[in-house]
């Protein structure tokens, strides 16, 4: 039982830090609340889907921005817009915030600005992926030890 308590404590602290540092916002908590016995892996599944999609969109943006003959900013913007939607829906606050700035640069047709944002969004996405993987690992450990995942408000 002590092991479970320790792990749960770790989970709560880690969750809190992710919220505090802006990696996750309340929308993520909403998703955690949706998880139930019918869909016990809901959050992990959505997160995996998000990361898959994120990579695809980032690649689209990179390709569009590489075009030497002239960047199709509308195309870049379309990908950024979609990433903004999915990141906000999953609660990936820092990724979403970069998307907001990114869209302004697309509108202004500023290639340098866009490239900077692309770098930032790639960075934030990797950070978030690592952090969520740590969080999910903690979850697995709690469950394996016979405990239940605490709900972090």
């Amino acid at each position: 039982m002590d092991v479970v308590n320790q792990l749960q404590r770790q989970f709560i602290d880690y969750s809190a830090s992710l919220h505090r540092e802006g990696f996750l916002d309340d929308q993520f908590t909403q998703l955690q609340k949706l998880q139930d016995d019918n869909s016990p892996d809901f959050v992990v599944e959505v997160a995996s889907l998000f990361f898959e999609d994120c990579e695809k969109l980032i690649n689209n943006m990179a390709r569009a921005l590489e075009q030497q003959q002239g960047v199709d900013f509308k195309q870049v913007d379309a990908s950024v817009h979609q990433l903004k939607g999915s990141s906000s829906s999953i609660g990936a606050m820092r990724v979403k915030d970069v998307c907001i700035a990114f869209r302004s640069f697309c509108e202004a047709q500023n290639r340098e600005g866009c490239l900077r944002c692309l770098q930032q969004v790639t960075h934030e996405y990797s950070l978030l992926k690592n952090k969520l993987q740590t969080l999910f690992r903690l979850q697995q450990q709690i469950l394996a030890a016979g405990g239940s995942i605490p709900v972090v408000e």
Binding site: Q27, V46, L49, E52, A78, H81, G85
Partner: protein
């Protein structure tokens, strides 16, 4: 509330006819949700199912339109993302408006006044900004009831 909609029975496994006369109202509301973003689509489906609605999901507007045409009177409300490749939410809304009498809710990560105005002028019964919370989805049955009431006058 009288379930006077007896025209046409559904060939799908779900309910036939109106849902609003039954005891568990608004559970069983038949929702068609359309979004090309897989992350958002998965989240919407989970949220709508948690609301005890019957959910059908599509990742393309054209598919959604076929489904609606094939199952006349099979749905109570449509929720659609605005920005989709090929056919967008506005075009889908126009088709639905001319061919069927269904309330359509538009969703987007875009919150500019112009686009919301466009949605409303095109006839969307509501325009939601991502991230959508489950509390908002819990209330969508009101649009169905409102439309039915207007039609009866």
């Amino acid at each position: 509330m009288n379930s006077s909609n007896g025209n046409g029975s559904m060939s799908t496994a779900s309910s036939s006819g109106a849902w609003d006369g039954r005891d568990q109202f608004p559970a069983g509301l038949r929702v068609l949700v359309v979004d090309d973003d897989p992350t958002c689509l998965m989240i919407f489906e989970k949220m709508l199912k948690t609301c005890l609605y019957q959910v059908t999901k599509c990742n393309k507007a054209e598919t959604a339109l076929s489904v609606l045409r094939e199952h006349k009177n099979g749905f109570d409300i449509v929720i659609s993302d605005v920005h989709m490749p090929d056919m967008d939410g506005f075009e889908l809304l126009k088709h639905i408006d001319s061919e069927m009498d269904l309330p359509v809710i538009l969703i987007s990560a875009d919150a500019t006044k112009q686009i919301v105005m466009k949605g409303v002028t095109y006839g969307a019964c509501d325009y939601l900004i991502k991230p959508v919370r489950i509390e908002t989805l819990k209330n969508i049955w009101q649009h169905v009831v409102r439309k039915k009431a207007r039609n009866t006058v």
